[in-house]
């Protein structure tokens, strides 16, 4: 009998296993037949109201306090509807009985609030008013309690509260911004003005009463506009579409994130705890780096369970290649720079995922994590759908009229349509709107894999149905311990998606707040289980124009007990419950909470203290010309500096340093004083060569006179030849540098690196000068130089006799010398772009390229290499900094990035055609617009964007032409370390994910925690890259702790916190203390003193 039962049970559960996570329920069963039906009219359509296709929201909350979550759907044009949850995933439409009657005008978003703290949730509805014929005000439906049938009755009374705003509202969020115990309101509005020009960023500081956002303070039940004194931007440039509230910096005061469409920045308002906010994106574009450009919905939650809230914001980057190639793109780099200079922060067309690093610094890692491209997206929900303790991602998307289709813009929108629009549309013209391309797309699910990555599980978790989906919410509609989903659709029935659950555990938490904040909005919980630490906040405005219930749902994975669950109330009161079994529904009551506790402080002693710059030097780049000269390249090669070299040049026992200037900027020598300050030395000496872009230099004793001389090389892809490409030797005579006129006269090299080492053990220093490209010819291999010292400072080009194979090894970016094989002779490790990591072993006579060492197929965009013994096994391992994994580029041996150099258009000059793989198809990187400017013949065969998008590489450029091109490839983009087995074999290991978030430009290996193993300090970032790739700015100084068994962990709070495009990290002793100088491109250097 028991056996039978077990078998039976197994049959059921096995069957259940094959089910998808979500099942879409039929409206026949749920009785939810709501359709956000749009009916274009001459008065109101996409041509005269720009957000006609943006969709509407949905509110999930228990309006009749029966512990079942009810649903309130917004209709843009059709009436809103209220559905009461009858249990068992069935609902009943009660709009009329509830006396809700929002049937006019244009409605957008809604949220819930207990405005009169009677324990009943009210509804605040956002509308467009004061626009054309639309004259409504926002609505506040106040819950009067239930009638005899259990139906809540509502009465509209926005005016009594001062909330009958009439303007262009998008969405609202109630929260206690000043922690005075009542709920204030942030009302996000949207501009409706055509965005013909991007204008000045400063226009955000002006006030537009209809489209500007408004912060209302709740003053005894009256909502008073305090936007101006609170520092809220209220300009007409704000196209607010996404709104989230969260305590981003864990200081107890809620902060606000506003996603703005079009040109305007997003806003991250940090609460200053004094009634005002500071908007940090416009103040400092390093903190978040870049944001979404065409920002739609956003959400904030802790995706990596580190107790810090992370931000996702949605944009419209197509995942589908054909859609991408037929859609409008960002401006090209030069014009984009112009736009930034008008007062904007960098924004790119992609979803962004800002991982919170603490101290209000964020790493944007959407590409790295796999959530960057989800088509024309509206609502983002971060929630644990599979109850494994990690927040997953749901994205709603699709649009009824995709107005960025390039073929439509250029070719399809015919004269007929244009003239009708000019003359004013009539009913008869409405079908013309039908010609606008529709983008009906499936919604996306991403499962959180941990380690900062997500997998697209759309097909695993749900049936892939296409739709125009907008507002979305999660809620446990059937109280079965998992989160169900509700999605409001344009022109289609709303989706109610039942979560089919799994064997993971969960718990839910409700709040009973103090008097004026009855639902505990803003309460934060921290739950600890065996394997998890989960942090969550009770803010309800979420999911684009929508609101979720004021209930926390926590997935617990296999853990069945919560060891402790702490609630931090907005008042600062804290209470904790211990040993809670999974499956429970817990209610926390603020009245029983203990009095205020101090929030815990991390008592980690950081390794570094940051000093204000000790010198007045600011590296200053001229605007990058690479994209003017070679519009097809993916990134510039003219932002290589500064380099920093450290030496004691006056033999006074103190470290001095030399820092290189960019084109048209003096390099500078700084002499350290006894007190650790630096003074500029021999300034006149470097004036003469200010023109040069100095890229690398080395202090070494060229002539054996015991004084350290200086060799400077220049490059930076700025000059084609002549003086600015000649190496310069400065001979040190008793602490004074004198330019030498004899050496290196015959060399002109676009140099990337200079190195001095005694290769032949003859007691003098020989020189290696590396070069990364022929100027102005992207990817073309340039020549490398080995120059042998005759002992008295005369250098001979002996490349051919000593290291013949290095001469055209590739586009070298970095070279180090070290004795890898312990034979007493210095070997070379060479890294660069479009080339493999290469080792040259020195046998005392020659240096020969090492073969069969495991580094054969490692072509990357390598910028730097460092050798150290990671695993304490007695040999040197190599740590190599690469491009990273945080762009749309992926590369492998099977699917490489390829550079084809050929004269495709037969005009006597070669074009660099760069391709990459998107899924399984190889496709050109440069946009059609850029390609046809270079090769107009492409328009003969592929004039329409669609033809171009569909064409294979061979169809576009010809099989023969491609075959005959000079080819280079990239098969590895990850930054890695190569483990040396001591016998000359290297095995690749990827650095942790966070180290892949940006290109690495320099690495320092040092044992920071005195455990005998080298830890790593990592710097990088690159701002001068194609706008199709965005801006790589995720590093803010990264410290990797050696885990002592051959790997690394990301260290927290190491004090190594530096932002910017960093090029070099150099050790120096300052006033007797070990320190680092950090060289930043186009910025001032930073000094870090090591705490001892």
């Amino acid at each position: 009998m028991i056996v039978v039962f077990v078998l039976f049970f197994c049959a059921i559960s096995c069957q259940k296993k094959s089910e998808k996570q979500f099942k879409k329920l039929s409206s026949k069963d749920t009785e939810i037949d709501f359709v956000n039906l749009l009916s274009e009219t001459p008065d109101l359509n996409i041509l005269n109201y720009l957000y006609y296709y943006n969709g509407a929201g949905v509110v999930a909350a228990d309006f009749n306090n029966d512990s079942l979550i009810d649903l309130y759907f917004i209709g843009n044009q059709v009436a809103d509807e209220l559905f009461l949850n009858k249990g068992g995933l069935t609902f009943k439409k009660v709009t009329l009985q509830a006396q809700i009657e929002n049937i006019n005008g244009w409605t957008t978003g809604a949220t819930h609030v207990d405005i009169n703290h009677d324990g009943l949730l009210d509804i605040y509805v956002c509308k467009v008013g004061n626009y054309k014929h639309l004259d409504d005000a926002n609505l506040l439906y106040i819950n009067q309690g239930v009638d005899k049938n259990g139906v809540p009755i509502f009465k509209e009374d926005a005016a009594s509260y001062g909330l009958d705003f009439s303007g262009f509202s998008t969405q609202a969020a109630f929260f206690d911004y000043d922690l005075d115990g009542d709920l204030d309101l942030y009302l996000m509005n949207h501009s409706v003005y055509p965005n013909r020009t991007y204008g000045k960023g400063k226009q955000r500081e002006k006030v537009d009463k209809l489209s500007g956002d408004v912060l209302f303070e709740n003053q005894n039940g009256k909502f008073v506009d305090i936007s101006s004194q609170a520092g809220i931007f209220q300009g007409k440039s704000g196209y607010g579409l996404g709104l989230s509230v969260s305590d981003i910096n864990n200081d107890g005061f809620p902060d606000i994130y506003v996603g703005n469409d079009f040109f305007e920045n997003d806003y991250l308002y940090i609460n200053q705890k004094d009634g005002t906010f500071k908007e940090v994106i416009s103040l400092d574009n390093n903190k978040l780096g870049h944001t979404t450009h065409f920002s739609m919905g956003n959400d904030i939650a802790d995706i990596n369970n580190d107790g810090l809230m992370d931000i996702i914001s949605l944009d419209m980057l197509p995942e589908d290649l054909e859609t991408y190639k037929t859609s409008g793109l960002e401006y090209g780099f030069p014009i984009y720079q112009q736009y930034l200079r008008n007062g904007y922060s960098p924004q790119y067309m992609q979803n962004t995922l800002h991982v919170n690093l603490g101290n209000e610094r964020f790493a944007e890692i959407a590409h790295l994590s796999g959530v960057a491209a989800t088509e024309w997206s509206w609502g983002a929900l971060l929630a644990d759908f599979d109850n494994d303790g990690k927040k997953d991602v749901f994205v709603s998307n699709g649009i009824k009229g995709a107005t960025n289709d390039m073929d439509f813009i250029n070719f399809i929108s015919n004269d007929n349509l244009q003239r009708r629009i000019e003359q004013g549309m009539s009913h008869a013209d409405m079908p013309l709107i039908e010609e606008i391309p529709k983008k009906k797309i499936h919604n996306y699910f991403f499962k959180n894999n941990g380690q900062l990555t997500f997998s697209d599980v759309t097909e695993l978790w749900a049936d892939k149905e296409t739709s125009f989906s907008n507002g979305c919410v999660y809620a446990d509609l059937d109280n079965d311990g998992d989160l169900d989903l509700v999605v409001n659709n344009v022109d289609h029935e709303a989706f109610v998606m039942e979560n089919m659950g799994n064997s993971n555990n969960s718990i839910s938490v409700k709040f009973k707040g103090a008097q004026n904040n009855t639902f505990g909005i803003g309460a934060k919980i921290v739950a600890y289980t065996d394997s998890l630490k989960i942090s969550q906040e009770n803010f309800v405005t979420k999911g684009y124009l929508s609101a979720v219930p004021p209930i926390m749902h926590l997935g617990l994975g296999k853990d069945s007990i919560i060891d402790s669950l702490k609630v931090i109330w907005p008042s600062g009161k804290i209470q904790t419950q211990y040993n809670l079994p999974a499956g429970k529904r817990i209610v926390f009551d603020e009245s029983t909470a203990s009095i205020h506790q101090q929030p815990e402080h991390l008592s980690i002693n950081p390794h570094f203290k940051i000093l204000d710059s000790l010198v007045d030097f600011v590296h200053s780049e001229k605007p990058t010309l690479d994209f003017d000269r070679e519009p097809l390249v993916p990134f510039a090669n003219s932002n290589e500096g500064p380099d920093i070299s450290v030496a004691d040049i006056n033999n006074d026992g103190l470290d001095d340093f030399f820092i290189s200037g960019a084109k048209a900027q003096n390099s500078a020598l700084y002499i350290q004083q006894e007190d650790g300050s630096f003074i500029s030395h021999q300034t006149g000496l470097f004036d003469k060569h200010a023109t040069n872009e100095d890229t690398s230099h080395v202090f070494f004793d060229a002539n054996g006179d015991e004084y350290i001389d200086l060799l400077v090389v220049s490059g930076g892809n700025e000059f084609k030849g002549g003086n600015p490409l000649q190496p310069r030797l400065y001979l040190n005579k008793k602490g004074i540098l004198h330019p030498d006129s004899q050496q290196f006269k015959n060399i002109e090299v676009n140099a990337s690196k200079v190195l001095a080492t005694d290769f032949d053990n003859d007691g003098d220093q020989d020189i290696l000068i590396a070069s990364d490209q022929e100027p102005g010819q992207y990817g073309k291999t340039s020549r490398q130089y080995f120059l042998e010292n005759d002992g008295s400072g005369n250098f001979m080009d002996n490349t051919q006799s000593v290291i013949p194979e290095i001469e055209f090894i590739g586009n070298v970016k970095d070279v180090i010398s070290t004795d890898l094989d312990s034979n007493g002779y210095m070997d070379l490790v060479v890294v660069g772009h479009w080339m493999s990591v290469s080792i040259f072993l020195n046998d005392g006579g020659q240096l020969k390229l090492q073969k069969n060492n495991g580094l054969k197929d490692t072509q990357g965009w390598w910028n730097t290499v460092v050798a150290c013994d990671i695993d304490d096994d007695g040999d040197l391992d190599l740590i190599c900094g690469n491009w990273g994994q945080n762009t749309k580029f992926k590369a492998s041996k099977e699917k490489p990035i390829t550079l084809y150099s050929a004269d495709f258009d037969d005009n006597g000059s070669k074009e660099p055609l760069i391709t990459y793989y998107h899924k399984n198809s190889e496709t050109p990187f440069a946009s059609k617009d850029e390609l046809v400017k270079q090769m107009p013949y492409l328009n003969k065969t592929h004039l329409s964007y669609k033809d171009f998008a569909k064409a294979s590489l061979q169809e576009l450029f010809g099989q023969k032409q491609l075959e005959q091109s000079e080819k280079k490839s990239i098969v590895e983009l990850a930054s890695v370390y190569f483990k040396n087995d001591g016998k000359g074999n290297f095995t690749k290991h990827e650095l942790p994910k966070m180290a892949q978030a940006s290109p690495i430009y320099d690495i320092a290996a040092e044992d920071l925690n005195n455990d005998g193993y080298p830890d790593l300090l990592i710097v990088g970032n690159n701002y001068e890259i194609s706008t199709q790739l965005g801006r790589l700015d995720a590093f803010h100084g990264l410290t990797l702790d050696n885990n002592t068994h051959g790997g690394f962990n990301v260290a927290k709070a190491s004090g190594f916190e530096i932002s910017g495009a960093i090029r070099t990290l150099k050790k120096i002793m300052i006033a007797g203390k070990p320190a680092y100088i950090v060289g930043r491109n186009n910025d001032s250097p930073i000094f870090l003193i090591k705490n001892q």
């Binding site: 004269d415 003017d628 258009d905």
Partner: protein
Amino acid sequence: MKKKLGILLLTALALFSCAKKQEPIVISPEDYHGSVDKVTEVMIHDIFSPPVASRIYAYPNVAAYEILALKGDGYNSLQGQVTDLPQIPEPENRENVNFDLAALIAHIDMNKRLIFSEDRIEAYRDSLYGIWEEMNAPEFEASKAFGLKVAGHIAAWMDKDNYKQTRTMPKFTVDSDEPSRWQPTPPAYMDGIEPHWSKIRPFVIDSAAQFKPAPPPPFSMEEDSDFYKEVKEVYDISNEITSKGDESEEIEIAQFWDCNPYVSVTRGHLMFATKKITPGAHWIGITKIASRKTDSDLAKTIYAYTKTSIAIADAFISCWDEKYRSNLIRPETLINEHIDDSWEPVLQTPPFPEYTSGHSVVSGAAATALTSIFGDNFAFDDDTEIPYGLPVRSFKSFAAAADEAAISRMYGGIHYRAAVEIGVNQGRSLGKFVVDHLDMN
């Protein structure tokens, strides 16, 4: 069964046509206008910038004209008069060739080479080929062979005009630190168009810089400077005429001569491009009007198109040479920055530097060429813009039309006074040089 019937029908047709008498093929001026109109239409669809469009007009006309000159109707070959133009080959068998037909075929073939949407020209060509084939197959085949051969020769010459090489030359460098320097303008913020057009081989003028105009007033935003006064004048005129409303004469003039091949429009959330003919195309249209009004025969028609399109092409080279020499900022940028941040010009600012006004230079040159062909005080009704929803305007002479085209750019808010006044004179001097140096009949 059906198939069989088809074959039978075909056979019957073939028999019929064989039996039919061969008629001589006559090419009328209207046939040539048709081919010019066709290439204009395709250019609008494909979107070519004004300088590139001028090149597309010139070469096919030269090809047709050279065939005509070979025919010997009193027109002289341009070989020796136009830079590096080689002698075109003689037909193999002169008697079999209908030169008029060959000229038109060469014109069509050159058009096809120059535009993108070849299928559109092919469809047009094939329908004509079908008619000619039927009318007189031997004559057609011989003329076609010759026409295409000449087109090949002209194309080989054309390919050496540096057009391809200029494609890979650097873009215009945007540098807003230099306050007088041109910057991309709203709403599309396009790159500066054709920064290296001065390196294109000219037809008649010695070099791109031969008609280098005097520089514009020195840049200064001091209120008493000449330059500032010109900026302010654009703003004031614009305000004055817009206050009068869309029906004002000045706005009508501005719109009539807009001739912008790509105007980016946003309505609500919808973006699209309004596409019109270029300034060169407008004057090609006037050439058609004048040819028709004078009942010009085919030879004179081709002559008129050729001379005018050469003058226009050289005018663009000369004008673009100056544009990217002075690199002057547009009124829209300065007015938004210094006077009124919400001001919009009546016309959309085209994407290249301000000085001198392209339409002014081209109009000056084209009007001079046309005057040399059709005489001064040639009054005409200009209906060129009707397909683009604009009215007919009447002019008492080509020169008067050119003056109006020039001043229209100020009304449009896209040029300062110096650019139009100096520009139209630059065009006239260039036009005179072209007219004086071409000995065509």
